[in-house]
């Protein structure tokens, strides 16, 4: 399986568009949103400055982009094109394909997180303790697994034609409503009530809790855990269905 991961990675690193959107785009968006914010006024109810707050949002967004896009569209296309069938004629276990995809996406998502941190620290003077930087990186990286599973599920659900719109709607919907692009505190109350239950909101909240040096909310952990079980379970079920059909 290592050779498949290596090849998936080679190919991901060769794809400039994918690299731009997952590694550069979140940092650019960070500069756009936080660029004019002064470093003293706080985001309502968080005690964090806008750059500090948005840094986590954008790092989460970047990781989300890498794992969701990397998985869903490729899997749907390769299922349709027959590459998945061809791989089933090799000794590679069926889930090896999914693991290789997710592993290579995870390798791309790490720099997308780190680049946002570097830009935030150097351009907007975001300052955190060493343990916070490490914990943030670890939490956002690990949390992206939830969305990797979602990407796999979409990849096995959608056909090659439908996969892009479905991915885009899921991706923008989750990003915006989950508050990755702007703090949910700016939303009307009814929308805040919805956003609170989205996995992307819980995902960013996890990072923000680390920035605030406090324990994450139990609700956020629960939302992430339940989402992961749902997405991974759905992906496994769809994968099995697809295998029987092919």
């Amino acid at each position: 399986m290592n050779s498949l991961i290596k090849l998936e990675l080679t190919r991901a690193l060769r794809n400039r568009k994918f690299l731009f959107f997952s590694v550069m785009y979140p940092s650019l968006l960070f500069l756009l949103i936080a660029g004019n914010a002064d470093s003293t006024s706080k985001v309502d109810g968080t005690g964090l400055t806008l750059p500090t707050y948005m840094m986590v949002s954008m790092a989460s967004f970047g990781a989300l982009t890498a794992v969701l896009m990397g998985n869903s569209e490729r899997i749907a296309k390769e299922r349709e094109g027959g590459w998945v069938r061809q791989l089933r004629l090799t000794p590679l276990p069926g889930r090896g394909y999914v693991f290789a995809k997710t592993a290579s996406a995870a390798v791309v998502s790490l720099p997308s997180i780190v680049v946002v941190f570097v830009v935030a620290a150097s351009v907007k003077d975001v300052r955190l303790d060493a343990w916070q930087w490490l914990a943030l990186t670890g939490a956002i990286w690990a949390g992206s697994l939830v969305f990797a599973a979602l990407g796999v599920a979409i990849g096995y659900l959608a056909t090659g034609d439908a996969v892009r719109p479905i991915t885009m709607i899921t991706y923008f919907g989750l990003s915006m409503l989950g508050g990755l692009w702007m703090p949910t505190t700016t939303f009307p109350q009814w929308l805040q009530d919805i956003a609170e239950w989205l996995p992307t909101h819980a995902y960013a909240a996890l990072g923000q809790a680390i920035e605030q040096s406090r324990a994450p909310h139990a609700q956020d952990i629960a939302v992430l855990a339940v989402s992961f079980v749902l997405f991974a379970g759905g992906a496994a079920w769809l994968y099995r269905k697809d295998t029987l059909k092919a």
Binding site: T10, G81, Q86, L89, P91
Partner: protein, 311 residues
């Protein structure tokens, strides 16, 4: 070791899609070292049979065994290499990278460079997979199927998308695989291909095995020898129609400059007996030719006869 187990054993295998019985009670056995062609018109169940053979589909009833194990176990043990018509390739990587991957995944791999050379794609090793012509992509698929020392090679319509010259060059590549003692099973609708390479031909029709034998036996089964000769003057057709082992007779004006001759064309299941009886009629056939029916004609004869029977 399971040396005594047949390479492939289908036992009463059926697979239906809704109302359509794609494979219907198929029983067959492939033995080590055979080169077998799987023939059949479109929709005969070739692709479904190969999917069942490779464990990509599960039969509704009956059993499929490879080397005495399940298809998946045989694949995991590296005993099977296969290229499918529907088998896609990974995009955005080079031919060499993809072949190297196939070698890495195989339990008994060959050197990637050797695999590339044998499949005749060493010159395009650095090309991106999504930039290949149809025939080149077929060769890459073939390379993936032959990346290691497998005992059975399964090829589904391997020469689709190749022109006549490359097709014949590709046959040599296929024969090499057979000459190394492997069992080769290939589906094709080029009958010439089956005739040239296979030492056993399976004819599949509506999911059932219609004929199983050497190309010569298949031809014989179809009433498969052609007799042609010229006669001077005109002859009464009635006694010709009485000849033994005969399946058809046509009489036409001969094209020769000799004048008022006739050309008689006969199809017979036993040409020797038919010709012997012909001399008994007291005629003097000129330019006598006895030739085998092409596999193509035999195939058409067998399947149309079956169509007629099932109506």
């Amino acid at each position: 070791m399971t040396t005594t187990a047949p390479v492939v054993a289908f036992d009463q295998v059926s697979k239906a899609y809704g109302e359509v019985r794609a494979v219907d009670g198929l029983t067959l056995t492939l033995r080590p070292g055979e080169t077998v062609a799987l023939l059949g018109p479109n929709g005969a169940g070739k692709s479904t049979s190969l999917d069942l053979l490779l464990g990509l589909k599960q039969p509704d009833s009956g059993s499929v065994r490879l080397f005495g194990t399940t298809p998946r176990e045989a694949i995991v043990a590296g005993r099977v290499g296969a290229m499918l018509q529907s088998g896609g390739l990974m995009d955005e990587v080079t031919v060499a990278e993809l072949v190297r991957l196939a070698c890495d995944l195989h339990p008994k791999p060959y050197q990637a460079n050797d695999v590339l050379a044998r499949a005749g794609i060493a010159q395009i090793a650095d090309r991106k997979v999504n930039k290949l012509s149809g025939g080149q992509a077929q060769r890459v698929r073939f390379a993936l199927a032959t990346a290691g020392d497998s005992d059975l090679i399964v090829l589904d319509e391997p020469t689709t998308g190749m022109d006549v010259t490359t097709r014949q060059a590709f046959w040599a590549t296929m024969r090499e695989q057979a000459d190394q003692g492997r069992t080769v099973l290939f589906a094709t609708h080029y009958l010439e291909e089956a005739d040239a390479i296979a030492d056993r031909v399976l004819v599949l029709h509506r999911g059932r095995l219609l004929a199983d034998g050497t190309a010569a036996e298949i031809k014989a089964k179809a009433g498969a020898r052609r007799i042609a000769f010229d006669l001077e003057g005109t002859i009464d057709e009635a006694p010709l129609r009485e000849l033994p082992f005969l399946t058809s007779v046509t009489v036409s004006k001969s094209g020769s400059a000799a004048g008022s001759g006739q050309t008689i064309r006969i199809q017979s299941t036993d040409a020797d007996a038919t010709v012997h009886a012909l001399y008994g009629l007291g005629v003097y056939p000129r330019n006598l030719e006895v030739a085998g029916l092409g596999l193509e004609q035999a195939f058409v004869a067998i399947t149309t006869a079956e169509e007629a029977k099932s109506k």
